[in-house]
Amino acid sequence: MKKKILSMLLACLMVMSMLAVTLSAADSDVCSVTKKDGTVVGTYAKYEDALKAAYEAGGGTITFVADYTLAGATNVNTDAATVTDITINGGGHTLECGSITPFNFAANDNVTVNDLKVNTTGARFTDIYAGSTITFNKVTFTSNAHIDDQYGYFRTPNTNSANDKVNTLNFKDCTITLTGKGTVIGIRNGAHILDVNMEGTTVIGSTQGNMPGFIYGGRNATLKDTDVAVSGRVFWGMKGGTIRVDGNSTLKTTSGSRAIFDIAGSYNVYLGDNTKIVGKVLNTVGGAAEYLNIYATNPDFFYTDDTTQNTSFPAPVMNDGATLRVSDDEPNYGLRFTSTCAPTADTETVKGVKYGTVITKDTYLDKALWAEAVTGNAKDGDKEIFKSVWADKGLTKAADGTVTMNTALANIKEENYKSTFYARSFAEYSLDSLDFVKVYVFSELDTAKHGASYSETVNKDLSENVKDASADGYTTVVDSYVTYANNAYAWQSGTKYTCYSSKQYADLKAIATK
């Protein structure tokens, strides 16, 4: 009997303990809030309450400890005058938003959201007021909402009062997947400036109908190691500014898009060495465009589809290394880079072709301001670190239309005799009747092949231009000469005959042995 009672008691205890666990889970809080100094503010069962508490604390960190489904509005702060710093750590949890916009911030807020999954079914992801900076790190966004306007899933700023404040949206290692309808990122008031920065991010858009696909009204954007594939009226509806795409990035319009760029302003687009555009580049029905300059340091930047490269214009090709300029005309000596460029077969579309070359020094190579050099804007402070020259005297054209460019770096400073210089030639052209569009296609840069030092080039030249005995064109007697062995140049004493005059030989030897 005692055993029966004991076993029943134990069974009851087990049932009660399970019940306690269940009750505990149901009552558990979703978010904790700490102030900026680390002081605990409290724990909350609702994210929107935690957000309000963080604002009331003057900013702080909200940490998710469980998944959560939004139950109320998130525009809990309307104090536009105060700069508030908020960090939201998702801990890999999911925020189900339904038809409520989860990130609705007042002006001048600085908000960072880390490691969170955000899903909406009928709402935008953001409504951000002027002057705010919002940074998303490792955030996954998914939505099947039909936004159906150009202001976007990420709307900014939500105000009609014009001012010059910059709104900044940063995405790092994020994934944005949209199966609804609407522009991805939009600016609601054209007087505002929107900067968008994406790195390591993937954007997969849905059919955006008659709306711009990716960005509407954005002024400046930097994309690195980012793939964007969207559809819509255009990929990028622009109002003027700078777009920089670098790293392993691809911008792709899917079927139904008119073009990548649809402009109504003045834009500079810089495409890096490993960037690719897939689709039609420009919408010829574009608005009142002033200019669109596309600087492509990847000559293969433009694909008509995933696999077919558009070959409307061949990129220039640099010769390996450099040769020595020796001229009667001043400057008498220099480091000469030579390139060639085949003629385009697309004479119907390509108009107004011009050529040029950019040179930089080894210490600046990482800055990669090749495209900026064309307009003289490749600067480090006030110092121009990539220098460009248009091909003119140094340009020759063969009967088949192939162009050869000779560009010399001259008056080389003694301190730079042993520096390695790199050169890239480029071709500028316009597209058909769109004379406001200029495309700059650069030669490939292979640092193993396309660099040269003045000292080494002079040594090489002198070593190849001496003979043991006097010969036709080699009558100047010299008492020293340079040889190349074991990957180094070495000067020796001895009588040789060179094609240089005594003065030229002395000048060049001074450079070679400095």
């Binding site: 001229s327 010399a408 770096l409 094609c499």
Partner: protein, 80 residues
């Protein structure tokens, strides 16, 4: 006797004066000639040097090569 001595003295004085005059005139002449002579020497030296240098230049022109690659370049000056 006195007259004889006076005549000899006058003659000696005259000879002395002539010698002195001659000496002075000779100095002037020498100086002038010397200056002219120096000029001549300079001219000779200059001529000689010129001829000698001319000979060297001719020799260099005959023996030295001069290289000009004949290629036109667009120039970027090193301001790096």
């Amino acid at each position: 006797m006195k007259n004889l001595l006076r005549s000899i003295l006058i003659a000696c004085l005259a000879v002395l004066m002539l010698v002195m005059f001659t000496a002075c005139g000779g100095d002037d002449t020498v100086d002038t000639d010397g200056a002219s002579g120096t000029s001549s020497q300079t001219e000779q030296q200059t001529d000689g040097q010129t001829e000698e240098q001319g000979g060297q230049t001719d020799e260099q022109t005959q023996n030295d090569s001069v290289r000009n690659d004949g290629i036109s370049d667009d120039i970027i000056n090193d301001n790096f």
